[in-house]
Amino acid sequence: MTIADAEQTKGSPLLAIVVGIAGWLVPGLGHVFLRKWGKALAYFVAVSMLALVGLMSHGNVFSYGGDALDRLGFLADVGSGVYYFTSHILFPAGPDVSRAAGDYGTRLIATAGVLNLLCVLEGVHIALGNARERQAA
């Protein structure tokens, strides 16, 4: 048995799927299912702060389509879950990248999405039985 094997305990694939979907849709919600309250709050605050400031600054939210870079932008943006799907309702004025603030906002929205996907991956990892992560608050 390797050290990596020893760190693994029996996890639940079903829980991992629920944690993955919940964490993607609402930042931090996946960790609530794992009773990781501190992490859930931290991820919710961090991702929300980036997404909301990005949207408030009239950052561009990419929709599917366009060239390869647009599609990469879409993949990054869609990672923020609820903020991606409600961006047009929350901020109906839409993007304005003619000013630098809008361009920075675009980056913040993309960062929020990628950061949330990272948090989702961690939640799935915990749900699948990573013993070391399970012990952390």
Partner: protein, 58 residues
């Protein structure tokens, strides 16, 4: 609401530092130390690179 560039950089640094601290450290003391360190590193590096680029703007 429009933030200026420095405010947006601070918000970015803070949010990413918090998330990275919780992703990579396991105790609250470690997380706090890492968060402060990463936040300050983001600011120092960004301001440093900004000053390095300053001569090219003229």
């Amino acid at each position: 609401m429009i933030f200026n560039h420095f405010q947006m950089m601070v918000i970015f640094a803070l949010a990413v530092s918090i998330a990275f601290a919780f992703l990579s450290k396991h105790t609250m003391a470690e997380r706090l130390r890492y968060c402060v360190w990463a936040f300050l590193a983001f600011l120092v590096v960004a301001i440093g690179i900004g000053w390095l680029m300053y001569p090219f703007s003229h």
